[in-house]
């Protein structure tokens, strides 16, 4: 141990000199508490938004009846209207049906 006396003295003196050191204060770190309500709220909002976006839209209902108003030339060359009421599907006409009748 005597062997180390010189070194011990050296370090004691060094420590004494280090007393003059300006030690920075211990920093204060604020704890950031994790608020579970925030992600829960975001998740709930997303789910709600998803449900609203995916709500099935009611399909437009086809009209049950269709009024067909036709302008026809009468016997005395006068114009007359004929009004017919038909079911929607009954009045479907092929786009090429005119070819059958006209030619």
């Amino acid at each position: 141990m005597e062997d180390n006396a010189e070194l011990k003295r050296f370090f004691e003196n060094m420590k004494e000199k280090d007393q003059e050191l300006n030690i920075p204060p211990f920093p204060s770190y604020k704890t950031r508490k994790f608020n579970f309500w925030i992600p829960a709220g975001i998740a709930a909002s997303l789910i709600l938004a998803g449900l609203i976006m995916h709500e099935p839209q009611p399909l437009p209902e086809a009209p049950n009846e269709v009024l067909i108003i036709t302008l026809q030339q009468g016997e005395n060359n006068e114009q007359e209207f004929t009004i017919e009421e038909k079911a929607y599907l009954d009045v479907w006409e092929s786009p090429t049906s005119s070819l059958l009748t006209d030619y």
């Binding site: 010189e6 070194l7 050296f10 060094m14 420590k15 000199k17 280090d18 050191l21 211990f26």
Partner: protein
């Protein structure tokens, strides 16, 4: 370990931690402050975890040392072990009370072991843990460091005697 216990440990060792950080950063005060800041953040963010409370000082010193090495490497100030293997000669006069300058003449590993044992009152086993080296290797650094430091102290005293 909860945050309050960790805070208490860090506050207890704060002064010593700062001095050790400074010693690891070649006695650069500003660098030591940065390193210590990083170390505390690492610990409080849970990136470095203390497993055994009894080893708190060793654990803290180890984190400080590695953070200092990282920081020195980034700044290009890190001296490789090979380069720092040999003791530097006393080319110019050094005041015998300039303890930092004298210590810095020792190779890095010897400096660290000697500082931990003589300055921070740690055992060679503890210093081996901090440096993550074997006990035998730490003992070798300790013995060589002691011998070299004695030589350096004698040289500075002789220089001063002849200078007067």
């Amino acid at each position: 370990m909860n945050r309050t216990q960790l805070d208490l440990i860090l506050k207890t060792y704060h002064r010593e931690a700062y001095i050790w950080a400074r010693q690891c950063c070649a006695f650069d005060d500003e660098l030591a402050k940065d390193v210590l800041q990083q170390v505390y953040l690492k610990i409080l963010e849970g990136k470095a975890k203390l497993k055994e409370v009894e080893k708190a000082k060793t654990w803290l010193f180890s984190i400080i040392r590695y953070s200092a090495i990282d920081q020195l490497r980034k700044q290009g100030k890190l001296i490789s072990l090979d380069e720092s293997y040999e003791v530097e000669d006393l080319k110019e006069e050094i005041d015998q009370t300039d303890y930092q300058a004298i210590i810095q003449l020792l190779p890095k590993m010897q400096q660290e072991v000697i500082l931990m044992v003589f300055y921070h009152q740690m055992t060679i086993e503890q210093s081996a843990e901090v440096l993550q080296i074997g006990l035998g290797t730490a003992r070798t650094h300790y013995d060589r460091g002691k011998k070299k430091l004695k030589e350096l102290i004698t040289k500075t005293q002789t220089q001063e005697y002849h200078g007067r």
